[in-house]
Amino acid sequence: MTAKGVLMEPTEVPAIAAKLSGERLISVVVPVVERADDLVALHREFGSELAARGEQFEFLFVFDGGFEPSPALLALSHEASDVHLLRFAQRFGETAALRLGIERSRGEIILTLPAYLQVRPEGVGLLLDAVDGGADMAVANRSPRVDSWLNRMQSRAFHRMLGGLSEHRFHDMACGARAMPRRVAEALPLYGDMHRFIPAIALREGLQVQEVPVPQHPNDMRVRVYGPGVYFRRLLDIATFFFLAKFTEKPLRFFGLVGSTFLGVGGVLSLVLLVERLGGTPIANRPLLLLGVLLIALGVQLIGLGLVGEIIVHLRAPHRRAYRVRERI
């Protein structure tokens, strides 16, 4: 799988979702990047739930740099053939871990789970049912959510900010439990820190994303306190996502807007000074003159930058399509 940018290749989506065959394999991808609970317990709980549903499954634990599999998990992977452990030598983050897990998995259905008990194992069945029902991606929405009011407020603000970007508003994008057919997982443009926005990205790609209410795991019900750095990074993520969603096809719309604003303000300032000069006032000692010229120069540069962006987009155009065909008759 390669990260191709926000727009996708013109791939075809079969009209009918994968049929329940009984022989399909479900790949559970677990990126171990931040918090990790007892992964053996996680394997036991979710594995038995999947087994109870009569599914074939494999577990892929992807350890980011700095995380080690526990001896118990290592022992488990030796005795159970359906447990695979992958490890990054350095810290690459959750998105890269997900990508590696998807690349190395073999299942027809990819199920991603966080490395701690976030949702109750029963929830997995609900997600798989949604995918069997035809959804391109099923994402969990922990509900009823037991959380401190502080966390709930944060989460609401986060989703509201993102909701303004698409026609649909998600409620729990931070939840790592998602199920999707392999073709969807492979087509997702996963890069940078975009794992947080997977449902929103999928929606922008023209995929049918379904939010499924899933019971929250008791272990997950606790107050989380973040440092200011986390908020700052989250805001940057949103800004990046916003930019990519709005302007990937039309960079000049963004750079041109900012650039022409600068150009306009700089132009007005210079004009005012010019009028004053013609009126007889010396302007050479006015800092405003430098500001005016600086703004004009900056505006020109920004527009130039936008044009380069446009050239790049134009050159890529023959290889990309902004649409995704959902159904064809």
Binding site: E12, K250, A284, A297, V300, H314, Y323, V325, R328
Partner: protein, 324 residues
Amino acid sequence: MTVPGTPSAPPATPELSVVAPLFNESQNVRPLVEWIVQALESERRPYEIILVDDGSRDDTWAQVAQAAAADQRVRGLRLGRNVGQTAAMMAGFDHARGQVVVSLDGDLQNDPRDIPALIAKLDEGYDLVCGWRQQRKDKLLLRKIPSWVANRLIRRLTGVPITDNGCSLKAYRRTLLNRVSLYAEQHRFIPALSASVGARIAEMPVRHHARRFGESKYGISRTVKVLVDLLTLKMITTFRSRPLVGFITASLLPLGAALVFTILWLVALTQFGPVKSTALVFPGIAALWLATALYLFMLGLVAEVALRSEQEGARATPTAWEVG
């Protein structure tokens, strides 16, 4: 370019494809198909009608499915989400099998009865025949005046003598569509983009009707966007194969400004003596302009690098025909 999943050929491969993007046009689907079928009654070539449902929120898709079930020549394409007219048209073009492709609006404002005339014109030896809504039935202030201004601007900037760029009713030769990739909101620049790859373009008057069902999906807010897009279009069509030239041309202005301020500075130095504060401000401004010129030059180099790394763009030759 091949599109994966192109369907296997039915009994008669259509030679003519009619593409209509639809967005919330549920009431218009059935009359649209009827009109097209009527208009093409005397057409001897096998044809197909491709209805592209651009993520409608009403039951447009159900209507399309019905139409497709009733008539073998009707094919439906449902997009994952609303992607806009240009991308929806591209979807239709990508799936069209005919050597001649006709596009028209799904809102019945274009008249399918004009299609045979457009095709006849195309057969005279053109690659693109554009419809020209001589008697446009739209709101004056919101639609006609902005469109008139935009068309004049496009004509002036690109030099392509097309009066009505915004009309969706157009006929294309397949070979042209293979060369032009539309994205973003470029459908109104189709004539200009086609001309830039060497297409032979004609224009002919077509009928235009007032909207019967549904609402217009356009507003005045797009005017600013069109202006920005025009700048892009100019850049792309003129300097596609040599962006450095474009950026150097653009840098001449700041370079000139830098020169003027340098001269002013020298004059100030020699005439007024070094204490005068102009001796500081003028070289400052000159340096700023010089830096801008240099920056634009560097940007041009970046654009060249992008061009070279994209072989397709670097190698594209304009379309040409054997004469005589």
